[in-house]
């Protein structure tokens, strides 16, 4: 009996049509309604961030003092003529300021994740690739960064470098963005390291090595594409964290120099008016909420679409 056990008829090998990892993933993503909603909103935010200044009804720092004075020195409520979402007590158009805030939030998303990738990927890859002492020292470095209370680091760094050229770039925002990035790359480094380590052990990589595929090709054809999925997911899901950190910092007036205002500082500015003019807090809060949700939905959708564990189960 034993000598007849490897008798699986060849016809039992299942042949599935497949358009490759990315094609499959994209098809799964398209079927995920929440992810589509998230994706569309993200595109909308990016569009506003790029073309906002040309679309906004007013410059973000324009003070429509006549309107405010006519209103007895009080903020204009929403749906006022000329100011669709009203103004603050200085007559600045809320819609225009929110559109400028979208610009800040999208830039945060971009810069922070750029910093995260530029630091996190090489650190993680180096740890996995060289192993041994390099690995253990790099991982100890991540321990330190991980334990560092991140908001404290960001505040310290931004206060320390405030007066430098770097600190003044982008209305003081670049410094804050980079500082957020400097506290956020650890997760990415650990992720990349873990991915590469486990991929190095997989059968398809061993198989590739066994048939003599050069290691350069193994890295480019096997390791990177397979590690890329989780990295993309981590980048997308890291964006809400970055937007949240920036908004929180802006709320305690760290970041953009007035009159530039991020969504967080708009909430802070509107806080004293909350009872009589809640729109000054509600609209910025809604903008933050929408941005956070849309990136989270998109990231969740990407994860479900790219997760090989779920493959074939749908």
């Amino acid at each position: 009996m034993a000598n007849r056990t490897e008798t699986l008829p060849a016809a039992t090998v299942e042949v599935r049509r497949s358009s490759g990892l990315w094609g499959d993933a994209f098809r799964r993503l398209r079927r995920n309604r929440l992810a589509i909603v998230g994706g569309v909103l993200v595109i909308l935010f990016v569009f506003i961030a790029i073309f906002g200044p040309y679309l906004a009804p007013w410059p973000y720092d324009y003070q429509d003092l006549d309107a405010v004075l006519a209103n007895g020195g009080l903020p204009l409520p929403a749906f006022s003529p000329g100011h669709f979402l009203g103004t603050d007590e200085l007559g600045r158009d809320l819609l225009s300021r929110l559109m400028d805030g979208a610009r800040i939030s999208m830039t945060v998303a971009l810069v922070v994740q750029f910093v995260v990738l530029v630091i996190g990927m090489p650190v993680g890859a180096a740890a996995a690739w060289f192993g041994g002492r390099t690995d253990s020292w790099l991982m100890r470095l991540t321990d330190v960064i991980y334990a560092y209370p991140d908001l404290l680091f960001i505040i310290l760094l931004s206060v320390a470098l405030k007066e430098t050229v770097f600190g003044k770039a982008l209305d003081g925002l670049l410094l804050v963005f980079v500082a957020i990035g400097l506290t956020s790359w650890v997760t990415m480094a650990r992720l990349v390291r873990g991915q590469l380590l486990s991929l190095k052990e997989t059968e398809f990589v061993e198989a590739a090595q066994a048939i003599g595929v050069p290691s350069k090709k193994i890295i480019s054809k096997h390791l990177l594409p397979n590690a890329l999925g989780p990295v993309i997911v981590a980048v997308t899901l890291g964006i809400p964290g970055a937007i949240l950190a920036e908004a929180t910092l802006a709320f305690i007036s760290i970041g953009a120099t007035p009159p530039r205002a991020s969504w967080g500082s708009l909430v802070a500015d509107g806080q004293p008016w909350l009872r009589s003019f809640p729109h000054l807090v509600i609209f910025p809060a809604l903008a933050i909420a929408t941005a956070l949700i849309s990136f989270t939905f998109l990231g969740d959708g990407l994860r479900d679409a790219l997760d090989p564990k779920l493959k074939g189960k749908q």
């Binding site: 009996m1 034993a2 000598n3 007849r4 056990t5 699986l8 008829p9 060849a10 016809a11």
Partner: protein
């Protein structure tokens, strides 16, 4: 629960009546056992499956995974379900205990009479009392079928506590006894160990202990050795055989491996595309197969007499799409002997030479064109 006292007693009676049936010895023995079964209409069958139809309702459409399958099983008998992957043999077994993943799967119609009880009419609570107590299940992959966060002792004693109303200590003793029975050394010491501390073969032994914990009447073994090394395979199969003989447990053994089926079973059902293609005593099916698919399966076995350079014989083509099977014989696209008749209508299972030997083929029916 509607099980009467006497029906619960039935297996031992039958086993005593039919000593030959549990002995996987000679051809004579098996044939005699089968004949005894057939000549004793009073001896109730353990399991009667009639027109079982299980379908999966997927986004792409309805998959006819198991289509009008009927078969019987006697007390203490070992039945093989053989066929390619995707032919419906696992879904058949899962249907018997109503564990077809739902959604998307559903048992659409048919009847499953187990020990006089209509399984499909039981409430969920009644069905739960069947599982584990009267029907044990061994799954294919021992690496994933045991709970990684629970000690194996707990996993074995769990159903004994549940179904036999044993105290915790009595259930533990039972688990130790079972563990030693399935050949795990130092059984009592290993009760507190977790699955990851066992090798694949050892885990499958644990799985067998779990399945046999309440001394069930029927053991469903779904490819129990596929995930194991060849040398371990034989040990596990021997264990299943000897324990089923010892306890008088009927076994449905699901396998794609004809060698295993030939060595273990009294009767086999060859399944193809959700249907039974051929059924009969093991020797009738293996020596006098009457379905071209069965021939194909046998032919694709490599033989010791083959020249070294001989290529593996395969059955050309792929099984049909179970999304939308047509009215034709489902094997016709791959059959060497196909005629126009096969392409327009599907044959019934009809008798062939030998006790209970049936095949679903026009060509081998009396007067058919295949000799």
């Amino acid at each position: 629960m509607t099980l009467s006292e006497e029906s619960a007693q039935a297996p031992s009676v039958v086993v005593e009546d039919l000593p030959d049936s549990v002995e996987v010895a000679t051809e004579e023995g098996r044939r005699m056992a089968a004949q005894l079964h057939d000549k004793q209409p009073h001896a109730k069958r353990l399991l009667e499956v009639r027109n079982l139809t299980t379908q999966f309702f997927t986004r792409e459409g309805v998959v006819h995974a198991v289509d009008e399958v009927s078969f019987d099983l006697d007390y203490g008998e070992t039945l093989g379900l053989v066929g390619e992957s995707g032919c419906g043999k696992s879904v058949t077994a899962l249907s018997l205990v109503r564990l077809v993943p739902s959604p998307p799967g559903r048992i659409v119609s048919g009847q499953i009479i187990f020990d006089g009880v209509d399984i499909l009419k039981l409430s969920n609570a009644e069905m739960r009392l069947m599982r584990g107590k009267k029907i044990g299940f061994i799954f294919q992959d021992p690496m994933t079928s045991l709970n990684p966060t629970l000690p194996i002792g707990f996993q074995i004693s769990e159903s004994a506590k549940l179904h036999l109303n044993l105290s915790r200590r009595a259930a533990d003793d039972r688990a130790v006894e079972l563990l030693s029975k399935v050949g795990i050394p130092r059984a009592r010491d290993r009760m507190k160990d977790y699955p990851h501390q066992f090798s694949g073969g050892m885990r499958q032994r644990v799985m067998i202990a779990i399945a046999l914990a309440c001394d069930p009447m029927l053991l469903l073994a779904d490819e129990p050795t596929t995930a194991l090394d060849v040398t371990i395979q034989a040990q596990i199969l021997d264990l299943i055989r000897s324990l089923s003989e010892e306890f008088g447990t009927a076994v449905i053994l699901i396998t794609h491996d004809l060698g295993i089926a030939a060595g273990m079973c009294h009767r086999v059902n060859v399944m193809y595309a959700g249907r039974i293609a051929e059924t009969g005593l093991v020797d009738d099916v293996f020596e006098h197969a009457r379905h071209p698919y069965s021939w194909g399966l046998m032919d694709s076995l490599p033989r010791l007499t083959d020249a070294r350079s001989a290529r593996l014989r395969t059955i050309e083509g792929l099984p049909p799409d179970l999304l939308d099977p047509g009215p034709e014989c489902r094997f016709s696209p791959r059959c060497h002997y196909v005629t126009d008749r096969c392409r327009t209508a599907e044959p019934e299972l009809s008798s062939r030479e030998g006790e209970g030997h049936l095949a679903r083929c026009f060509g081998t029916e009396p007067g058919g064109w295949i000799a």
